[in-house]
Structures are given as structure tokens and as C-alpha cells.
């Protein structure tokens, strides 16, 4: 229980948590203290003085400790002689404020008049107009007219690009420093700053390339005026004309809650289209933030080259067919190939799609082969045991918690988690970053472990061994609930502990969270990594509680859902090793990722591909099924923290495309399957009945919302910004075995067999946030941020090959040969060539395949 303080606001007594900010304390009880520069997610600076209040404290008799009383029995209040800024005060017992006296109202009026001296009265053309804190507070507290002379207004530049994504209107800026503080303090990217002083004070970008952060869009939400606007939305509509549709980002495992601002548009055939994407508050997931990929990467949903009709290959030509023909053809093929069909689900298939795909597959045989793509990470069983505790809030994590991030470049793979961990580190959480190379997260901590590629499992094993030797194991858990500990203990005996400091950071913390990626790991190794992480968490007792447990950094938005519904990466591997005669692929593009998969598909007898675009995989299909994007349909995704979240139909339909679940159910109906369900909700109902962990996840429970703090949207724009209040549901997180006291937990020794590296130089593919994947490439607005294809070399290796940073090189790895740029920037370990996936079109070579790099002389 946190301590409470008794305070008085406007002559009423309230209980609030001791030591919190006065503005927040008032807000908790629905009392408005208007602010511009203060933001509940940031430290206060007291720059705008909008929050002036009368402040005092109850005078206490020093001898008795009792409050002094006036003659009428009311407590004596010692008032500050002048108004004070509420945002710079923390509350304690006896704090007294008055927020609406004549003096306070006059001060607000004066401050607003002052702020407006050079404000341009641009409201009619300002993107913020209609949801602008300055507009609202002026209407509520401002003067009806100004004493200042219009002719004296300063006229400043209006269309100043801060990079290609965000525009600054210098006249509108009220110099509250929310944007600069967001970048400096919350994100830690040195990209925006104030320049000059006094009336020349202006926001400038100080990075090259300009405004170089993955979170730039958030500044436009918290800017209390229309000084910062996005290039994406600019003049797209007025805020009151937009219809806000709750949605979920389809790009990464964080599963940010977003709001699609939609409006019908002549250019989109008079259908509803997404005009902009805004964050939607979910304090358990993305708080009020989103990364720029989620915000600006929505254009794929209405890209001109989206597949519009089912198509069939006839003699090397694509022929348009109708759905009935497509269903019929596929059904007869499935009947023909029955047991030798393989099913592959992509990372953006919703749970409903996955379920119907499984139903369809089960009509073809009793044990259908259900694979998931990308097949880079595994560990469904481990997550079911020791996944992160229900209701973990990363934003509450502080000094009592240690966070280990292993084998992941988190900023590129799950940016919002990166942001939250960075802030946790600022609050004192101990962060351990373990990877074979430097990543951006290294900056937030002193505890960095750089192992050799292939040693990730060994590192975790050594941590577990250290836990044993330091007797940091949890006896209660080991004695009562854990199977296999003796084997594990035997296996750990004599393990060397090369990074003892890092191990101790984890072992000495009260809570431990592990984020595990798969960089530089084969699928088999990754299974061991997940087990090793589980071993560490289980024997130290860091499971089954809030702020403890394992978070897999899955390679996609709904990989967790696919595993939950019975798809597995091991099956994918077996599908590639022993290929089926017929492939049924939904929303996956293996041919673009993996040359072996491309090869296997080319030799298959019949390939059905559900896709949004003519991807490399679709190009190999015999029948193409146009699937709807996340924008046009409903569904649910399960994020990396196992939270099942709903998204809603935001955009009008494109061509004949249908949601995947409908397609699969229709084909199933032609295979003597049940009648197709009528809605996504009905599919989810079936899931709740058959998948035990999803039992409580009907659409109405997923749509449940609760009041969240801080208040955003609505009347409180001035406070939290224009992130949207959550009306679509907070989602439901399923509980792990560890949370059920009667469930057994299993540990086993994790094998540390290293895969063979071949040759002097070998390739490690890595993931980038901004790539040329089919769902991101159509967002032209982001093109400047997607680097030209490159690979990274170690300086030693580069020196041997006489390659300098920026040289053009020819890389040969097996059959793959590609010309690209070389970067020599100190990130790649010796002997390793880092190969960012999906920058160039065409598959990346397999992990650790040997390569040769040659400089191309100009």
C-alpha cells in the first residue's frame, strides 16, 4: 500500500497518494488545473505558468503536532504570498490549494493573452484545430479580446520541415518544450532542441538525418498546439469529421493499440479510408505512444497494387476467377492431396483466421501439418509455463526489477518495448543487454554482455549455474512444483560463469523479466535458449508474478496466436525438409525470406497463396486468394505478452478481397465441413470453446475498458495529449501455468551445441524495423527512412579485404549473389557479416552460411 496524503483542494478534503504531482493529484479527483508544459508522463519544468494556483499548507503546532485552529475551528493555512505553479509541486499531508479563485482565473487569463500575442489565429487551417489544448483552454479561461496590437504580431516561418515526417509551424509554437523533453528524456535521442533566445526561440532538429528517432510522431500528439503536424495527415480532414476506429498495429509483437482516424474520400472511391493512425491508450501495452512504423506504415491497406481478385494460373498466365471457382478448385485439390498437404500461416493472420485454417486443415486428415512463418522462434510450451506475469506494467518497473534482453535488437524488433525498458532503466531498473554485437539498448545500461554468436544459450546456462552457486534458487518452488531439477542441476555442475557481474545483477533483483529474441540462433538453438531462460526464471522463482517472466520477441504481430492455436515453427522446418505435394499458404511470404523455401515451393505440385500483394510466394502460386488487410476487417491478435486484443473494421473493402477466415471456412464447407460462421465473433466463440487458454475471450470481454490514468483525449487534451481514449477494449491476457499454484513446472538442461560456422566470413541475418517487407514498402512516406541495402563488416575483416565504410561490394553466399553497400561501423563482430533482412528484395542467406565479399572498384 502506498502512503496517502490528505490534501485540500478548493475547500474539499481528498486522499491522494503521498508525493505525487499536484496536477495529477487534482486530476485523480476530476479537478482541472490547466497546463501546457506539464505532461503526466514527463518531469515538470514549470515553463508556461498556465498552472498557477493559490498554494498553502496547514500550519501545525510544533509542540503538539496538531494543526493550529482559527477561532471558528477551521485549520490555519499558511498561504504563499504569490501564486505558485501547481505542476512543480508534489503533494504531502496538509497541502492546500485553490484552483478557481478570482486571482487564479485572472492569472490564467493573463497567461493565455500573453501566449496568444504572436499566435497566428490559424485555427481554420490548423490540423490541431478542433482538438487543440490552446484552443480549448482559451475558450475556457482566456480573454475575449487582447490588449496587444495585431500589427505587432511576429510572423514566423510556417512550413519548416523537421525531417520529412514532421512539420513545424514556428508561429504556433508556445515553447512548452514537451517535444524536446519527450525526445531527450523519454526516448533519449538527441534530435530536437531549442535554438536562440527570447522571441527568437525556436525548435530545431539537431540530428542528421533530421529528427532521427523512431518515435517522432508522438511529439505531434503531446504538442499542445498545432506547431508540430505530421506529413502523413497534413490537411487530411478536420478532427471532428473523423470516425475513430480502434485497431491493433500489425507490424510487431508489441501489439500497440491504435486508433484509425477514418473518413470517406473521393480519391478512394467514396469509401472510408484511414486518414491517419493515432495511438490509443492502453497503459498495459503501449501507454499513449506508438512508433513511427505503426503510425505511418498503414498505407499498404489501400496500395494501388493490392490483389483484388482471386486468380488462377493457366498456362503461365494469371486468369481472374470468381470466388466460387476458387473455392471449388482448392477444395478438389485438397481432396486429391489430402494427407500430403502442408499449411503455412503468416504472422499477420488473426486468431480467427488461424482457427479456420486449422479447421480446414483438419478436414484433410487427422494430423495436418500446420506451420507458422517466420519459423525463426519457438517455445510455445515454455511461454505457457513462464510467460510474463499477468498485468505486468512495464511503466511501473523500477529499481526492484532487473530486465535481461538477450539475442534481440529490441529497438528494431519491438520499439515500444525498447522505449519502456529505456524508461525503466531511467527509473533505476537494472538492465542487462546480452547480444553478440552492440545494439542501441546498450546505451541505457552498464551491464552489457557481448558473447560470440552461438553462445547465447551458454550465457543463460551460466547465469543459472551462478544462481545455484550463490544459493539464489527458490527453495519453495523447487521443492514443491518443479520437475527435472536434478537433471538440470547435474547439467549445470561445473559450468563456467564468464559474465558473473551480469548474472549477479539479475540474481540480486526482486523481479526479473527476460526478453528473448533469436538473433544469430537457429530454430533448434532458439528452443534451447527459451528453455534456458525458463530454467533461470524457474529456479530463481521469477515466474507467475507481475513483473516477472519471459517475453519472446516474436518475429511478427500474431506469432503468439499462431502457436496458441496449434501452428508450429518445427512443422514449418519439417515442411521444408520433407515438402508436401500441395501447399496452402496464408499471409506468409517464405519465398522472399528463405531461398530453400523458395526452391521447395517452386517444385511443389500445387500451391495456394492468400496474399495482399504479388509477393515472391504469390508469384509461385497456382491459385492466389486476395486477403483483406487489418484495416478492412475485424479480428484479434495476441501480442508477445499474450494479451489478446481486438481490432475493428476501419476501411472500405478493396476489390473482392475477403477476410482469411471466410475464405478458409468457405473452402471447408465444400469439403463437407460445417456451415461457414457468420462473423468473426462467432469464430472467436468457437475458439473460446476449444482452446482452453482462450476460454474467457469472447468479443465482449475483449472489448471491456476501464478508466486509465492519465486521462487522454476528450476534455483532457491539454493534459495527456491527443492519444485517443480506449473505446475498443484493453484485451485479455491469458495466465501461464506458473500462475496456477497447482501446475507443475518443468526444467531440463538446455543444450549448447553451437551450429557450425563455415568459412572465414559468415552471415548473420538481422531484423530492421524499417525494411522493404510487403506491408511496409507501400508507405511511401517512410521511404527515406528505409536504408539502401547494405551489410555490416567488422573493421578487421574490412581491412583485410581493403573495404572502407560506404564502398560498394559484391557478396556471394551460396547461390545468392548481390551487390550492396558495406558499412564498417564497429557493430559487426569479427568474422561476421550482418545482413539486414528484407532491405533488398530476395531471400537472405541462411544463418552462418559462408560468404565472400569483394570490393567493386569504380
Amino acid at each position: 500500500m502506498t502512503k496517502t496524503a490528505t490534501i485540500m483542494i478548493d475547500d474539499q478534503t481528498y486522499q491522494v497518494p503521498d508525493g505525487i504531482n499536484l496536477v495529477d493529484a487534482a486530476k485523480l479527483h476530476g479537478i482541472t488545473i490547466p497546463v501546457f508544459c506539464y505532461h503526466p508522463k514527463m518531469e515538470s519544468v514549470g515553463m508556461c505558468r498556465m498552472c498557477l494556483v493559490e498554494l498553502g499548507s496547514i500550519s501545525v503546532n510544533r509542540d503538539t503536532g496538531e494543526p493550529d485552529l482559527n477561532d471558528d475551528g477551521s485549520p490555519v493555512v499558511r498561504w504563499f504570498p504569490k501564486l505558485q505553479t501547481a505542476c512543480t509541486q508534489t503533494v504531502r499531508d496538509g497541502t492546500v490549494v485553490r484552483t478557481s479563485t478570482a486571482q487564479v482565473l485572472e492569472a490564467r487569463d493573463n497567461i493565455l493573452e500573453f501566449i496568444l500575442t504572436s499566435h497566428p489565429l490559424d485555427c481554420p487551417i490548423c490540423d490541431k484545430g478542433g482538438e487543440c489544448p490552446l484552443q480549448n483552454l482559451t475558450m475556457a479561461y482566456g480573454p475575449g479580446r487582447s490588449n496587444f496590437i495585431y500589427d505587432d504580431k511576429l510572423h514566423l516561418d510556417k512550413h519548416v520541415p523537421l525531417g520529412e515526417l514532421i512539420y513545424l509551424d514556428r508561429e504556433r509554437c508556445i515553447q512548452c518544450a514537451r517535444c524536446t523533453r519527450f525526445c531527450d528524456e523519454l526516448v533519449g535521442d538527441d534530435v530536437l532542441a531549442f535554438h536562440e533566445r527570447g522571441r527568437s526561440l525556436q525548435i530545431v532538429t539537431i540530428s542528421d538525418p533530421p529528427f532521427d528517432t523512431k518515435f517522432s510522431g508522438n511529439t505531434t500528439d503531446i504538442c499542445p498546439v498545432g506547431a508540430l503536424t505530421t506529413a502523413d495527415f497534413r490537411f487530411g480532414a478536420r478532427p471532428w469529421e473523423l470516425d475513430e476506429v480502434p485497431t491493433i498495429c500489425p507490424h510487431c509483437p508489441v501489439g500497440c493499440n491504435l486508433s484509425a482516424s477514418t473518413r470517406i474520400d473521393r480519391d478512394f472511391g467514396g469509401k472510408k479510408m484511414i486518414k491517419r493512425i493515432m495511438p490509443r491508450q492502453n497503459e498495459l501495452v503501449n501507454e499513449i505512444w506508438t512508433c513511427d512504423k505503426g503510425r505511418f506504415g498503414h498505407h499498404h491497406s489501400r496500395a494501388a497494387d493490392r490483389l483484388q481478385h482471386p486468380m488462377m494460373r493457366q498456362g503461365g498466365e494469371w486468369v481472374k476467377i470468381d470466388w466460387a471457382t476458387a473455392y471449388h478448385q482448392i477444395a478438389s485439390k485438397l481432396k486429391k492431396y489430402a494427407d500430403s498437404a502442408g499449411f503455412l500461416a503468416g504472422p499477420t493472420l488473426s486468431n480467427e483466421d488461424l482457427w479456420e485454417l486449422r479447421q480446414l486443415a483438419e478436414l484433410t486428415g487427422d494430423t495436418p501439418r500446420l506451420g507458422v512463418w517466420p519459423a525463426a522462434m519457438t517455445g510455445a510450451g515454455v511461454v505457457a509455463q513462464v510467460g510474463i506475469g499477468v498485468n505486468t506494467r512495464l511503466q511501473d518497473v523500477g529499481p526492484e526489477t532487473a530486465i535481461l534482453v538477450i539475442a534481440s535488437d529490441l529497438e528494431e524488433e519491438a520499439p515500444i518495448w525498447w522505449l519502456q525498458i529505456k524508461q525503466a532503466a531511467d527509473r533505476g531498473a537494472a538492465v542487462v543487454v546480452a547480444n553478440a554485437r552492440e545494439t542501441k539498448l546498450d546505451r541505457v545500461t552498464h551491464t552489457v554482455v557481448h558473447y560470440d554468436y552461438g553462445d547465447a544459450v551458454a550465457v543463460l546456462n551460466s547465469f543459472a549455474a551462478r544462481a545455484r552457486s550463490r544459493r539464489k534458487t527458490s527453495k519453495a518452488l523447487l521443492d514443491n512444483r518443479v520437475d527435472g531439477y536434478d537433471d538440470l542441476a547435474a547439467g549445470l555442475k561445473g559450468t563456467r560463469v564468464p559474465f558473473a557481474d551480469a548474472a549477479d545483477v539479475l540474481l540480486d533483483a526482486e523481479n526479473v523479466i527476460v526478453f528473448a529474441g533469436a538473433e544469430g540462433l537457429t530454430l533448434d538453438q532458439h528452443r534451447e535458449l527459451m528453455q534456458a531462460a525458463a530454467n533461470l526464471l524457474i529456479i530463481t522463482g521469477h515466474v507467475g508474478r507481475q513483473n516477472n517472466g519471459l517475453v519472446p520477441v516474436w518475429p511478427g504481430a500474431n506469432v503468439q496466436g499462431a502457436l496458441d492455436i496449434g501452428f508450429s515453427p518445427e512443422t514449418t522446418a519439417s515442411l521444408i525438409d520433407e515438402p508436401p505435394a500441395m501447399w496452402f499458404i496464408g499471409g506468409a511470404d517464405p519465398a522472399a525470406d528463405d531461398s530453400q523455401a523458395a526452391h521447395v515451393l517452386a517444385n511443389a505440385e500445387f500451391v495456394v497463396v492468400g496474399a495482399q500483394f504479388m509477393t515472391a510466394t504469390a508469384a509461385q502460386a497456382d491459385i492466389i486468394l486476395p486477403r483483406q488487410s487489418f484495416a478492412e476487417r475485424e479480428g484479434t491478435y495476441t501480442n508477445g505478452m499474450r494479451r489478446v486484443q481486438r481490432f475493428y473494421a476501419a476501411q472500405g473493402p478493396v476489390g473482392d478481397a475477403l477476410p482469411d477466415w471466410t475464405i478458409y471456412a468457405q473452402i471447408g464447407a465444400r469439403l463437407k465441413g460445417p456451415k461457414p460462421p457468420v462473423s468473426a465473433a462467432a469464430v472467436m466463440r468457437a475458439i473460446t470453446q476449444h482452446v482452453p487458454r482462450y476460454a474467457g475471450m469472447g468479443y465482449s470481454s475483449l472489448a471491456h475498458v476501464e478508466a486509465q490514468f492519465p486521462d487522454v483525449g476528450g476534455d483532457d487534451l491539454y493534459y495527456g495529449g491527443t492519444a485517443y481514449a480506449n473505446h475498443g477494449g484493453l484485451g485479455v491476457q491469458w495466465a501461464t501455468d506458473a500462475e496456477d499454484d497447482s501446475a507443475r513446472l518443468v526444467v531440463r538442461p538446455a543444450q549448447i551445441e553451437k551450429p557450425e560456422k563455415s568459412g572465414d566470413l559468415c552471415i548473420v541475418p538481422v531484423r530492421l524495423l524499417y525494411d522493404r517487407g510487403p506491408l511496409f514498402e507501400p508507405s511511401d512516406i517512410m521511404h527515406q527512412r528505409v536504408p539502401e541495402p547494405y551489410l555490416e563488416l567488422n573493421s578487421q575483416d574490412a581491412a583485410h579485404l581493403s573495404i572502407a565504410d560506404g564502398d560498394r561490394v559484391m557478396v556471394t553466399a551460396g547461390e545468392i549473389q548481390i551487390e550492396t553497400a558495406a558499412r564498417v561501423n564497429g557493430h559487426a563482430p569479427e568474422g561476421v557479416v550482418l545482413w539486414p533482412r528484407r532491405l533488398a528484395h530476395g531471400p537472405a542467406p541462411a544463418l552462418f552460411s559462408a560468404c565472400s565479399v569483394q570490393k567493386i572498384e569504380e
Binding site: P124, I125, R145, I149, Y150, K158, F235, A237, R266
Partner: protein, 164 residues
């Protein structure tokens, strides 16, 4: 008696000049403040006044107006400042000629004028597009879009005067 009164009235009116006019051959002048079909106005130099702010649409009680805005550039400029109306439509079957749009407009771009001949053979013809609403450029002024010098038209709303 009543009968005589009644006939007297009839006879009196029989002898008066009729007030009916032979519309459509003949058109009657309307009052200065008559609110008829809208027009989108231009500045004297020919630039469009409308900045695509949608305030008229917001004010319209009949939801008759549809505005889609876009950004001016110096290579393709329709109005002063950054924003112009890419699409501007009024559905005359919905409009109740209340003039709220005119009141709401910050640039006096939309004005209800004196034209009142509004009949259509097709429902779609009742939707007046920007091309139909926009006044032609004043004599000698070039039609929009313009190519302009950077920095010449950077303000959407003409710089205000002190209201006193």
C-alpha cells in the same frame, strides 16, 4: 351585403395589374439579401478564397457540404497559404439556404448569391461541384492553379487588422 363585399373585392383585383411573371421567360429581381445558390469567391488577383477548412460543412445544419482539403505548393497554388479545397461540393437537394455556411467561413469564400434556378433531371446534378460553384477569375486575372514565387503567398487568412 356580404355577397356584395365579396364581389367588390374580386372586381377590385380583376382590375389590378397581375403580380405573376412569365417565369422562366421573365425573371423577377430579388432582394439584395436574398439567399440563393452559393458561389465560391476569389480574391481580386484570381486566387481562390476558400482554404478548405470545412467550417462551413461543420456549421451546415443539413449536412449538405463536403470538403476535402489538400496542400498548396508554390508549383501548384490555388489559394493563399498552405491549404485549399481539393473537393468542394454542395448538395442542393439538402441545402435549406440558411446561410450558416456563409457566416462560418473565415475568408468569406462561400456566399449565397441571387441565382435561384435550381432544377435537375438527375439526382447527381443536384451536387454542385467546385467547378460549378467557383466564380471565374476576374477580368485579366489568371485562373488557378498558379506557379508562384516562394514566400509570396504564405498566409491563409489575410493579415488581420486591429478590430478597433
Amino acid at each position: 351585403m356580404n355577397l356584395i363585399n365579396g364581389f367588390a373585392t374580386t372586381i377590385k383585383h380583376l382590375l389590378e395589374r397581375p403580380v405573376t411573371v412569365q417565369y422562366p421567360e421573365q425573371e423577377r429581381a430579388v432582394r439584395e439579401r436574398f439567399k440563393g445558390r452559393h458561389a465560391l469567391k476569389r480574391y481580386d488577383n484570381g486566387l481562390e478564397k476558400c482554404i478548405g477548412c470545412s467550417l462551413c460543412a461543420a456549421a451546415c445544419p443539413a449536412d449538405a457540404i463536403w470538403v476535402e482539403a489538400a496542400e498548396n505548393t508554390d508549383e501548384e497554388r490555388y489559394s493563399p497559404g498552405e491549404r485549399y479545397a481539393k473537393t468542394y461540393e454542395i448538395n442542393m437537394l439538402r441545402c435549406i439556404f440558411c446561410g450558416y455556411c456563409e457566416d462560418a467561413c473565415p475568408t468569406e469564400a462561400i456566399v449565397l448569391e441571387h441565382k435561384y434556378r435550381l432544377s435537375f433531371h438527375d439526382r447527381r446534378d443536384a451536387i454542385y461541384t467546385k467547378e460549378r460553384l467557383l466564380d471565374p477569375p476576374p477580368a485579366g486575372a489568371p485562373d488557378t492553379p498558379w506557379v508562384t514565387e516562394p514566400g509570396t503567398f504564405d498566409r491563409a487568412i489575410p493579415i488581420m487588422q486591429d478590430p478597433d
